[in-house]
Symmetry: D2
Subunit: 226 residues, 4 copies
């Protein structure tokens, strides 16, 4: 599954609205809109739903976290191999709701690279984003934690964070793709994000808790397909 | 899915030999033997495999861990609701490879009770087992960490731990079912465990890495069905 | 240094008001009142202040936490030996602001016993308190986390927690001394705590942030010396 | 207390040989040699010993770790303010025996800067060192964890790590001072480290467990004073 940019990456978190069949339905809507507008839309469901969604939709699927452990005697942990086997194409790492030790970020990133999983590492500010770009992840998502879930979009409330982060990450490592996230709820948040240099967005409640995710995704896809 | 005792609970850990289709096959073997001998055999697969196994076999399924979070904005965590939705009947907690804070054990246990998930809490010694029995979990599994994966069975190497733990747990809380684990590889380890008062065993590599899990499970089931 | 009951244990937390010389002064006030009323008052200063306070006052001194590590290559950790060498007589463990894994609580408690350090383990509710009493600590302090720092005292707001915890702990293990804490600000909170069976109180902001700690301690000591 | 380079930074870890009076004596030896050779030697004692050593020796003193918490209700944690008040001039952060979350490293570093504490952040490899240099710490210490405590010095066993790390850190951030560590036991390890561009060394067991730390420090100081 090829990931292309701009990328719309939907984090299902542990929301009831995106668990089980509801998550599968949301993934199917994402797939439908992705095909309709020829835009890359990826989903990050809960661990238990990865396999079913991977078997039923043809869009990129991310886990929300992986541990760095090798397969073996590590009861209760999430190996990169397990999410790969289930059909995931990549994973989030270091989300603000699941921050990691720096050595663990590096170890998990290396383990993912070994088995060809895409890593999207989250960063709460420009400095952290720059530091992470040294580790050469596929994607960095800038998400100021104080805006997550607020409906106040990072691209409008803190445009300089997005602009500066993109510029400084690309300067350090032009191979890294940069997304932004936090507070995104409408199409103009997204067009603003793209205008600021972001190669896509990481979104969660904005879609998952929307009354009409299909309509909203269609509006987003229109903006991204321009 | 009713859990009955004696219970044979197979922990798939993050072993390659029990991931994906291999895990499904092992679960099917467990189901076959369980029906053949009318013995309760449960499996604890990796998170990503819970749903597929639940859809394809009719034996009790445990997760290997859950977090205590409610559904919501908890990216990368495992809610009890997610494993329940996927078809799990219970979960391991506090395995020696995934030890937890005491307040988290209580919180996760309470969350599981709310939604009718069975909790099997692991304890490394008799004192911890007794302490945990106060929290009123469904099952406590005594596993001296130093024997896990060694092939030296707790029931033979440390029979007094099993015997004393069973007695002291039952004295504190007769509702708790007691399993033992660590180092179990053959049927005589299991008959010894039962003789010592254990209501079943928690086993991992002994089955998962066995060359012929079906044969071995059959021998175990025979002992347990007596 | 003998600890006697009723015990008034003052947790300095990381409050500025009890750091360095201010902490030493507060400890001296505690010592003065303890001698005046022949009541046992102990203090739990920050790690860096243990030695100076131990050298200058003759009352029991507790650390606020220890790790279970042996002396050795454990940079940045707190060994029981280090606080003992500095002059501490005991330590808090598992405070609501520093909760620990159950296996770590047991390991730290065992390490402290080896070198004759008194352990006061904190518990957020009766069930946890009962479970901890199985581990045979010297002291258990019941502190409902939701009342800590509120000025609403546990002994008045939740008298049944104190009463039931004392009774059920003593039933399981009569050797454990039971303190209560959270929200204690005046002498009547303390007399109520004692009336409910508590053998003393664990107090922090009530004393540390008081405008006149000496007056307040004197009032407390009067109640405790009856 | 001004820190100058080359810097010899001695980590006392939680070694018995450097606890209490033994730690004070070792610090006094360090001070004596530092004055004799006009070389900067700093010590990182256990938390409980910082104040006494700060009161008795005039060399820079580091804590081995700090938490990022503000002064307040954070029982059992180490605030930057507490080590500063005790007389420390700086702190180690993210030592291989106390690795931290990336967001915590940033937060602790910021907190230390606010109150003028020097931060020496440890990195296990070149990539991590480069990433950390973006955060603009005062010092980065490269220590391949696999060599720590082995007596096989990083400067001889992995000279390219030292050389490359120094070059790439300086390229990203010329303000960062670079130390190396792990396995250093004799003066030639240190001269090699300096030759490779390191501005000093971080050493622990090499000194602390030496039979004659004074002699050894004298040899080190000679090399560093050239």
């Amino acid at each position: 599954m090829k990931i292309t940019y701009p990328l719309l990456l939907i984090n299902f978190k542990t929301y009831t609205e995106a668990l089980g069949n509801k998550g599968l339905n949301l993934a199917k809507i994402a797939e439908k809109i992705a095909m309709e507008y020829n835009v890359c839309i990826a989903v990050a469901p809960q661990f238990v739903d990865i396999k079913t969604i991977a078997e039923n939709v043809s869009i990129p699927i991310f886990a929300q976290h992986v541990d760095s452990y090798e397969p073996g005697a590590y009861t209760g942990h999430i190996t990169p191999e397990s999410i790969k086997e289930a059909g995931a194409h990549g994973t989030l790492l270091n989300h603000s709701e699941r921050r990691l030790r720096l050595d663990e970020i590096e170890a998990s990133l290396n383990r993912c690279k070994e088995i060809n999983l895409i890593c999207c590492i989250c960063a709460g500010n420009e400095k952290i984003a720059k530091a992470l770009s040294i580790l050469n992840p596929d994607i960095i998502a800038i998400e100021p934690p104080e805006l997550i879930g607020t409906g106040i979009s990072v691209s409008k409330a803190k445009p300089e964070i997005v602009k500066n982060s993109v510029e400084s990450i690309k300067k350090i490592n032009p191979n890294v793709h940069v997304l932004c996230g936090a507070g995104i709820t409408n199409a103009s948040d997204i067009s603003k994000a793209i205008e600021l240099g972001s190669e896509g967005v990481l979104i969660a409640s904005g879609i998952v808790k929307s009354k009409n995710p299909e309509d909203l995704l269609r509006q987003f896809a229109k903006v991204l397909s321009i």
